[in-house]
């Protein structure tokens, strides 16, 4: 046997190795179902480092650049969703979160009004083996404060002016109204942009693209 083996070329030997590995795989390979163990230490690290958060500014960038490697989930009820939702968001109430065909290998960004429901949904997903679950930091409230109706300085310094111009641009892109100084403090006009879409349908991207042309 040994002599025969030595007469084989490199290719044949590699082929034999592959065959053996393949044969072992029949008995050894994972069958698909995988158990989920929650390690409190891992959880603590995730929470402490805040790696489970997506900032609203980042999300705004993702939407503007048309990134599609994640799913944005709106956890609020249908009526609130129909009234306003972040563009591209899908409406999935907490109760049906696990039956909505979310895949464990997807990047999922959750948001609710504040952050609590999103955090609870996040835990539900993590406990079910979803590794790519994230929450929108501060939720829709933060989105409104930072993206739709950002407070801009009344007499900006040059650095502030540059930053504010960018913020204003993003805000207008999403149909928001940047607020300046006294006017904002007195009576903040916060009319939510219209979402003229049937509930459940994802917001169309072309609208975003058209606005971009103006820039």
């Amino acid at each position: 046997m040994k002599r025969r083996l030595s007469t084989l070329g490199v290719n044949q030997r590699l082929a034999m190795l592959a065959l053996v590995l393949g044969l072992v795989a029949v008995f050894a390979a994972p069958t698909g179902g995988s158990r989920v163990t929650l390690d409190p230490k891992d959880l603590a690290v995730i929470v402490a480092k805040e790696v489970d958060h997506v900032r609203v500014q980042d999300l705004a960038d993702w939407i503007i650049t048309g990134r599609s490697d994640y799913r944005l989930i709106d956890l609020r009820d249908e009526r609130s969703y129909a009234e306003y939702h972040i563009p591209t968001a899908e409406n999935v109430p907490l109760a049906s979160l696990l039956d909505r065909g979310l895949a464990r290998n997807e990047k999922i960004v959750l948001y609710s009004d504040g952050g609590i429901h999103a955090a609870q949904a996040w835990f539900l997903l993590v406990a079910n083996g979803f590794k790519g679950a994230y929450t929108l930091f501060g939720g829709l409230d933060e989105w409104k404060d930072q993206i739709l109706f950002p407070r801009l300085a009344e007499k900006p310094t040059p650095e502030e002016a540059a930053r504010d111009a960018r913020i204003r641009e993003i805000s207008l892109h999403f149909g928001g109204q940047p607020q300046t100084g006294a006017e904002a403090a007195a009576a903040p006009a916060r009319a939510l942009p219209k979402v003229d879409l049937p509930a459940g349908a994802p917001a169309p991207r072309p609208a975003a693209k058209k606005r971009k042309e103006g820039c």
Binding site: F27, N105, G129
Partner: protein, 199 residues
């Protein structure tokens, strides 16, 4: 630590770009060293006188598959988290035909054309220009083809899932098919070479 690393934030976008750069250079190097920077070598597989492309590609598939299988078995990779592209049956078939047609006519596939461009091959440059132009045309006519492009969605299924077979069995079957294929390829090469001599 478990893979996949990037998707779940174990390193950032910048690191991933650096890694992509390094891996890309490695891939291009391997393609060039295998002789795939030459359209003649690539096309000769369609004339059945040199099946190196088939052998190299299938070797890469088997190597990667066994690697992934064993990494998953040793708990270093969570297979259920690896991205699987969704299958669109009819668009997949049509797209495959278009790619195959372009491969025979142009002499490159997308990856090899870039490797060939790097060595200064003019046909690869023309091929690359065609690729960009084709991409442009597709983007422009997308509204017309959108319905077809998104039809017959099967979802992100894998062979073990679709046929309800044990994962390991499929791995073994692919290895067996590959080895049979390698043997068959060498037989075909010999036959074609013998016939060429007769002429």
């Amino acid at each position: 630590m478990m893979a996949p690393f990037f998707k779940f934030g174990m390193f950032g976008e910048e690191t991933s770009l650096v890694l992509a750069f390094v891996i890309g250079i490695g891939f291009g190097f391997a393609l060039e060293r295998a002789g795939f920077g030459s359209a003649k070598k690539l096309v000769s597989q369609f004339y059945l006188n040199d099946l190196a492309v088939f052998k190299v590609m299938f070797t890469a598939i088997v190597t990667a598959m066994l690697g992934v299988t064993y990494l998953a078995w040793f708990g270093l990779l969570d297979l259920s988290l690896v991205y699987v592209t969704p299958t669109y049956v009819l668009p997949g078939i049509v797209g495959g035909l278009v790619l195959g047609f372009g491969f025979v006519v142009g002499g490159y596939c997308p990856g090899t054309s870039v490797a060939a461009m790097a060595t200064g091959k003019i046909d690869a440059l023309v091929y690359g220009a065609g690729m960009l132009f084709g991409t442009f045309v597709f983007a422009e006519i997308y509204p017309l083809v959108e319905r077809f492009h998104e039809s017959t969605l099967l979802g992100p299924v894998t062979i073990p899932q679709y046929f309800n077979l044990p994962y390991g069995l499929v791995v073994f079957a692919v290895v067996a098919v590959a080895i049979a294929g390698f043997y068959g390829a060498s037989v075909v090469e010999r036959l074609v070479a013998a016939r060429a001599k007769e002429r």
